[in-house]
């Protein structure tokens, strides 16, 4: 995101393609969306990225990264 400077960007540390949480978790979908929208008044300049501070796994595990790499390389 930092390289293409969208006017306002909210970053969430979820795997790409799971922006609003795991499948069928409506509570989490809504919580993430609500958090992102709540950032609107805090932006002060173009290209600013605000971190929503949300981890994918409750314990902060990064094990999802290996699985995601495999998925990303499947469309070659």
């Amino acid at each position: 995101m930092s390289k293409v400077t969208p006017p306002r960007a909210a970053f969430i540390d979820h795997p790409v393609g799971r922006t609003f949480g795991p499948p069928h978790d409506r509570k989490r979908n809504e919580a993430v969306l609500s958090k992102a929208l709540a950032e609107l008044p805090k932006f002060t300049h173009p290209g600013e990225i605000r971190d929503l501070g949300d981890a994918w796994s409750p314990g902060g595990s990064r094990a999802w990264e290996d699985e995601l790499c495999v998925e990303m390389l499947q469309d070659r």
Partner: protein, 156 residues
């Protein structure tokens, strides 16, 4: 430390050259004139998402877009994007195109209202100039016509 997607995307593109990330030629900043609670909100997605009865996108350089009803009960969402990450969101497109969550926020008064339609197009297209000169202005006109105050683009 956030996951570094660019090296994996470069590996994915090989033997084609890695994607070039292009800055917009014009500044895109607009002041927010209304609060979120007063705003009409629209979603945009680069997942090439559409309703099942709409014309399919053609990977990988399709520059068209689809106008999708904001009503979560309007029909099944199909994701046409070619990316390998689609296995999970195809099980539940709400995790990249949260029509149900936005409808709930509208009902609860968190946002002013939802736009009647949302928009989706193909992400990862390499024709940057045509995106800026054709696709983006067409989407901007759709949003202006629908009197949208706030558009949230969910990258895919």
């Amino acid at each position: 430390m956030p996951f570094d997607y660019l090296p994996v995307m470069a590996q994915n593109s090989a033997p084609k050259p890695p994607r070039v990330l292009v800055l917009p030629s014009k500044p895109a900043w607009q002041p927010a004139c209304k609060s979120v609670g007063e705003s009409r909100v629209a979603l945009l997605s680069s997942a090439a998402a559409r309703l099942a009865d709409q014309e399919p996108f053609i990977p990988r350089e399709d520059l068209s877009y689809r106008k999708v009803s904001a009503d979560p009960n309007a029909g099944e969402i199909i994701i046409d994007h070619h990316s390998g990450i689609g296995r999970v969101p195809k099980q539940d497109p709400e995790i990249i195109f949260p029509r149900t969550a936005l409808a709930s926020l509208a009902e609860r008064g968190v946002i002013g209202s939802r736009a009647p339609f949302y928009f989706s197009f193909m992400g990862g297209v390499r024709q940057h100039q045509r995106i800026e000169n054709e696709l983006a202005p067409a989407l901007a006109k759709e949003l202006a016509d629908a009197q949208v105050d706030l558009a949230l683009l969910v990258p895919y």
